[in-house]
Amino acid sequence: MNPFREAIVANPWDAPRSDVPTIHQHVFEQCLRGLEHVRTTQRSMALLIHGAAGSGKTHLFSRLRSQLAPTMPTATDRMESLLVWVRLQTSPRMIWRMVRRTLVNDWFRPLTESRCQFDRILFHRLAQLRVAEGDLEPWYEYMLEEHPDGLKTLIDRIASDLDLDRNTHVALEHLAFCRHRRDLQAWLCGDSLPEAALARLDLEQPDEGDVEREDQARRAVLMLCRLAGNHLPIAIGFDQVEALETGPEDRAALFAFGQLVSTLHDSTSNVLIISAVQSSFADRLTSEARAADRDRMTSFGNINLPPLERLEARELIRQRVLASDEPLPPVAQTEEFWPLSESDLAQLFSTGSVTPRKLLTRCAERFDALLQQSASGVVTETPPTKTASDFLDETWATIVEEKLKSNQPQQTEEILRHALPMVAQLVEPGLTLATDDQLPDVSLILEGRSGRTGVSVCTQTNMTSLTARFRRLKSQAGLNRLDRLVIIRDSRAPVSPTAKKAEEYLADLRKRGVALVHPAPEVLATLDALRALLSDARSGDLAFQGDTVAPKTLEEWFAKHLSNNLKEFVLEIIEVDGNSQESSDDSVLIEAINTLLAKEPVMNLKEAAAQLGASCEQLEVVIRRNAHLFGLLGNSGSLLFRIVQTADRENSESL
């Protein structure tokens, strides 16, 4: 394996291939100083880090992770910190929800011996009440097994001291007693949960509109920071901030990010906010962000990640050589810049320095060339056989497959709100995004050739929330502020047979001409893949042969490779025509079949048709068109059943 490949650190939670501590040491130390400052002064601070694409921003987070992630048993005499790494691949209107979800998932991530950061918080909070020395974990285990009442009393005291609301108090209790962790994680993430799960948890989920849900996410994040306490400072790293932008003139993204940092800065007392951005974006932040937000973003400094000088470059190459799994030729040990030639060095250091990514890419190319050394001993640099388009083809196939495997109904709203505008603008250039305060439950408003189309993503699994959402949409549709309203549902989250009111509201909305669309999981995975790749491109994290692939290049490539499925889905939303009416009728039937099968997973086709008031032929057509959702069994295809994806099945089994 080429020891110089993997020039991009995609996720700081994964261990990097190698690390040279002296590279960007002063920036790393500034981060650590920042955390100590927060711990000592009990005031939140922020640090802005900027560098060129490939300068090592995510690698720096990875180093922070290995330094900060607690791996030793919790003890009262050990200074600890918490870590959250947020890749801002979202819409500016969902920024707090993204932070909330990431924070909760990072804090539930097992670090060592199945302990997670939430456990650390718990131990630290308990330690404040119980004056103890040494390791806390054996004591906690003892309390859990031998004195659960005593442990509950301590949790009650923590909740009372922190003035936690009821829901948070109950959540903390579940954490302490290791109960319903899976549902608890989903609840803390803000996912819609079925009534049965909420009843098990003894928690509530308010039925609110979009703005309120964002506000609720903000309050949840602040409350969780408060729960951690001043003795456990939290480093929150924001990466790929550029991905929030929909275009070069997008001011909403800058504003949303500025507000996020300012709120975290002013409303918490234990957070070090580390924002890592590209240098070009830092320049825009300086000139275009609100002065108050900018001051907060840099309250602990504004520091650059410089490209590497020769000595640093040499050390990086050496570490890669040392970490190589394959035996390398002896010259790799003796020549300090092996496998680079003098001309490579002259070119790479033409301005005196080079980014780690460019350096490693050149090394990787040279390494490959050396492997193909001709029998005569002459090293010939083989011309690159891959084009940027080939690279995108390959990357795309891999990422779509990954997204298809991991796609979950609770991601649907975020995927659509982030990616749908991008694709809609490719399908219909000139289409613009709008907002309307009087339509809080309309997630997106697209203004194009067909007028003003509102899109409401209704994927709640909690029927009370779904009913409330339909009721509000019904009154908002009556305001006549849209030319068209489209409701997007996820067929994997059917309306429960008992949710009569939800069905009623949906039927009313249909009567008013509201369209109903069910995207296939393949479409959602494609959209998810697109937003991930485009976010990488906007943040300089998508590189081919050492050069960053520009977002425009990716968009052009994608426009040429737009799948029919996806195009049809987008057209179904933004265009009004006869076919769209037909597919919307399909959607109504899909919804009805789904509801029916939620009650009885396998059904006779004739019986189903009778119950739904449709003909068997009509039903068969819809089933054939939606083979990803339903299937027919039996010689004459007389048994109808719902397709359950592996991921869904695993989830329901583990529940």
Partner: protein, 372 residues
């Protein structure tokens, strides 16, 4: 009837071999009792019985005996010996260290499942140095011990020297030596020669009254050397002008004179102008200007090319040349803009370009390790 205690059957060859297997798979030396516990033998042997078998293996050379872990502990056994395991571990540690480490530091950093004494560490390090797996680096001070690294003393001297003289004006050789005073004179001379040959260090002719050669990380700027001649030339030109020598004759004579000493005027005019601007006495001091534009540059802030260009009030080509020059000298770090294609021509003009398709959005001062 009294019960007769039947002695256990002797351990089979397979049992004995399993002792060897346990120790080959072990990650550290084990006591005989532990070996007896872990081995999959036909019966559970007593610790003493296991110890006897293991001692026999030691005598045959199949195992090595290790000293007990503590004073009260029992002898341990392993298939590896202390020196070879210790040697590999210490070599690995020093190989990965970013700077030389003393035997004391090695002892502190080394995490081994067994203890290595000071004398053992010293002897292993000396052997590694003898085999040139590691190199000895002279002690930093008289009281601290020898250090070890994966590169030789001269190479380490190179790193130290280049880092320490980075932002300093040209230095004499004796001053240069103080940066690496732990090197002996011959090593120091070898280092200077190596760096000069590699053009990582430049020798400057003596300047002013001093007769000493000077050394720096960048080639000498010609202006200070030409200052005396310029002053003399200014006086003579004035005298010739008052003697009615035509301007054209003066220019011709001056050009001929300069070309006769090896200064060519064949370069393109723009390059000549820009290069000249860099060293001009009245050239803009961009480093100073960066501090004025943003006082936090000392702490690592980036200064936008657009903002600095506006403040410098000089033509674009001249500004870009100055910036690139400072970058090559290691005084500033340039930050590349990756999506230049998405910018308008006007916005692109605000950036610094090297003329090879690379554009830079801003620059930051190069901060040394200790500057933060």
């Amino acid at each position: 009837m009294p019960k007769i205690k039947v002695p256990p059957p002797p351990l089979s060859a397979a049992d004995r071999n399993d002792f060897l297997r346990v120790l080959r798979e072990a990650e550290e030396p084990l006591e005989a009792g532990k070996v007896a516990k872990l081995a999959m033998t036909s019966r559970r042997p007593a610790a003493d019985e296991a110890a006897a078998v293991l001692e026999q293996f030691v005598a045959e050379g199949a195992l090595k005996a290790w000293a007990p872990k503590t004073g009260k502990g029992k002898p341990r056994y392993w298939d590896r010996d202390l020196i070879s395991v210790g040697s590999a571990a210490l070599a690995e540690l020093v190989q990965h260290s970013s700077q030389p480490v003393s035997a004391k530091e090695v002892k502190k950093l080394c995490k081994l499942p067994f203890k290595l004494g000071d004398s053992e560490i010293a002897s292993i390090l000396a052997d590694l140095a003898k085999s040139e797996t590691l190199y000895e680096i002279p002690a930093k001070t008289a009281s601290s011990g020898l250090r070890y690294w994966h590169r030789d003393a001269v190479e380490f001297g190179r790193d130290s020297l280049l880092t320490q003289i980075k932002d300093k004006p040209p230095l004499t050789k004796s001053k240069l030596k103080t940066a690496v005073n732990w090197l002996d004179q011959s090593q120091f001379e070898e280092l200077v020669e190596r760096l000069t040959n590699r053009r990582e260090l430049y020798c400057h002719p003596p300047l002013g009254k001093s007769k000493h050669l000077l050394w720096s990380r960048s080639p000498p700027a010609p202006e200070p050397y030409l200052k005396g001649i310029r002053d003399q030339l200014a006086t003579i030109v004035k005298e010739l002008q008052s003697a009615s020598v035509p301007q054209a004759d003066l220019r011709r004579a001056a050009v001929q004179m300069l070309e006769s000493v090896g200064i060519s005027f064949g370069a393109s005019s723009s390059v000549t102008t820009d290069a000249a601007a860099v060293g001009r006495e009245d050239a803009v001091d961009l480093l100073k200007l960066m501090h004025i534009v943003d006082p936090s540059v000392d702490r690592g802030a980036l200064v936008s090319a657009r903002v600095l260009r506006t403040a410098a009030k000089i033509p674009k080509a001249e500004f870009d040349t100055l910036v690139l020059q400072l970058s090559r000298q290691g005084k500033i770090a340039l930050h590349e803009h990756d999506f230049v294609g998405s910018l308008s021509a006007e916005k692109r003009d605000e950036l610094v370009t090297d003329g090879h398709g690379n554009y830079y959005v801003g620059m930051a001062l190069r901060l040394g390790q200790g500057d933060s």
